[in-house]
Amino acid sequence: MKQILPLILITCAAPAIAQETRQMHAHEHGVGELNIAFDGPQIAIELHAPGADIVGFEYAAETADDRAAIDAAVATLARPLDLFVLPAAAECAVTQASAGLESEAHDDHDEAGHDDHDDHEHDAEHADEHAEEHHEDEAGHTEFHAEYLLTCANPGAITGIEFAYFDTFQNARELEVQMLTPAGAKGFEVERDAPTLDLRGMF
């Protein structure tokens, strides 16, 4: 029996070893992702934006100011119609809104490999932290995630979207938009210089 015990332990541990996967998302400061899906009167919106775009830093909040900045950002992100302005005629209302800050380091995965991050301009700053095998939150990039569900009384009146987002968040340069309409999927790049999206003919 005593000889079997280590064997059992190894067998139990095996899945844990096998499950070690390393992956990191692409993370480019200034560029956020916005997904919009239209389904009848409902619109689902997902926003993923780097912490640098929203609050200007990506370390874990240290001071009261940092925490206040994050809280304010989350509160702003919870009001989607102020960020992505739809025509008033569409009569859209927010059904659900959730926003939060997510750190890559919060993932369950082993984060030792940071290879696919070399292209990052800020890497030098973080180099010392990267050296650690298991770094804490402050080494990872942070992303703000927000999900919204809107209901519009008159979705046909949606002729475009005004991105007040860029006025609110000065560090944001670009949003990569994937849009799903009854006419099919479309991709757009909305930039600070031209913060509007023309949706005429999409419905």
Partner: protein, 416 residues
């Protein structure tokens, strides 16, 4: 009054004017025709696949995944394991999922393994389903359905045997397990036309006696024995996924892209098609440029005719002046004539376009799978026509100004 004069003057020179008008008409028809083909090609391209919410494959680039899964160009970097496929199929958002398996070929055409659901789920040109022109969808393990181009190029009919080659450019044939053509699909204008479709199990079946890419010599499993085997695939190349509600597409896409067990990629076909078009679409700009140059050439031709007509009409102009016409009237007359020529040319060009479209539409659809819609002139076409007329007026100003300056003196001093 001046309009009647202009008309009369044009009629008097019917032949030269006719040629000029014809040149303008042809150039306008060409320009509008190129525009039609360009937009038709663009929408045909965007309509290559519709009704599919996500395409799932090994993690690579979205354009690459689209190229090999839909256009059968290039190869997958990796396969997707059957376990991952089962996992994705079990996701609550998934309405339907169709696996595809690529890698073998028949002559110059790719062989694709899939499930019968492919025929009802694959849609093109806004919800048009695949149609079997002759025969039926495969019922037997060794049945195959071939695309219209495959049948036309290789001269196959329903019931013909087909031997599938291992790999894409290989001399090794799966000749121990020949297939039978059970159906031929109607022309779609999509890459399906150039595809030999077999069942998922058949892909496994033809590889039963193969190990590490080579045939095991002297070993042939009888076909009957293969039929008894468990032919669940080990891996697939990609999968087409339909999602229950559009609102869930992005959540599923994210779940697949974050799938920890295997690096997978889920793309929205429409977005990837658009990315691909941005690469291919440079040619369309060139095409538009060339046809615009043809219109410019025709207008310059008109300017040349007006110039040369000035010589013939020196005396006419002088008489107009002598009868009290102001130089401005002469200028107006010449510009009006040019505008009339350009307008008639543009209208005839538009007619030519529609006649051409009516004749070419079915032919082009059959030959290239390119659908050119015949509909009322768009606002854009209207602007093009108006642009041609305005350009005609501007171009005619050059000879008209010359006539304006010279009409009296020139005409009165004719010596010959």
């Amino acid at each position: 009054m001046i309009l009647r004069l202009a008309f009369g003057s044009l009629l008097a020179r019917a032949l030269t004017v006719g040629m000029t008008v014809l040149a303008i008409a042809l150039s306008v028809a060409l320009f509008l025709g190129v525009e039609k083909v360009r937009t038709g090609a663009k929408s045909s391209f965007a309509d290559t696949i519709s009704g599919t919410d996500l395409i799932v494959g090994a993690r690579s680039g979205s354009v690459q995944l689209l190229l090999y899964s839909v256009f059968r160009i290039g190869n997958a970097t990796n396969n997707v394991t059957w376990e991952s496929y089962r996992d994705i199929a079990a996701q609550p958002q998934v309405d339907w999922i169709v696996p595809i398996s690529l890698g073998d070929s028949h002559r110059q055409f790719r062989v694709m393994g899939t499930t019968p659901a492919f025929f009802e789920r694959y849609k093109y040109r806004q919800d048009r389903a695949l149609e079997v022109a002759t025969g039926a969808v495969m019922a037997d393990l060794f049945d195959t359905v071939i695309g219209a181009d495959v049948a036309a190029t290789l001269g196959y009919a329903v019931g013909d045997p087909i031997v599938v080659a291992h790999g894409l450019a290989s001399f090794t044939q799966h000749d121990d397990q020949p297939f039978r053509v059970s159906g031929i699909l109607a022309k779609t204008g999509t890459p399906v036309d150039r595809t030999v479709i077999v069942s998922m199990e058949a892909i496994e079946a033809i590889h039963v006696d193969w190990q590490s890419g080579a045939k095991i010599p002297g070993r042939t499993t009888p076909v009957d024995a293969i039929r008894q085997m468990d032919l669940t695939p080990q891996a697939i190349t990609a999968a087409l996924v339909g999602v229950k509600s559009p609102l869930q597409v992005f959540a599923l896409q994210r779940a697949i892209n974050d799938y920890p067990e295997e690096p997978l990629l889920a793309i929205l076909p429409g977005v990837a098609l658009q990315e691909l078009w941005q690469i291919v679409g440079i040619a369309e700009t060139a095409l538009t440029g060339v046809s615009a140059m043809v219109v410019v050439t025709a207008l310059i031709g008109m300017m040349a005719t007006i110039f040369s007509s000035l010589n013939e009409r020196r005396r006419e102009m002088a008489i107009f002046r002598a009868m009290g016409a102001r130089p401005g009237t002469i200028l107006g007359l010449l510009v009006l004539e040019a505008v009339l020529m350009a307008a008639i040319g543009a209208l005839i060009g538009l007619c030519l376009l529609y006649i051409g479209l009516a004749i070419a539409q079915p032919v082009v659809d059959r030959a290239f799978g390119l659908w050119l819609p015949i509909d009322a002139p768009s606002l854009r076409e209207f602007w093009v026509l108006l642009g041609v007329v305005c350009a005609g007026a501007i171009v005619s100003l050059v000879p008209a100004l010359r006539a304006y300056r010279l009409s009296l003196a020139d005409g009165m001093m004719v010596k010959s």
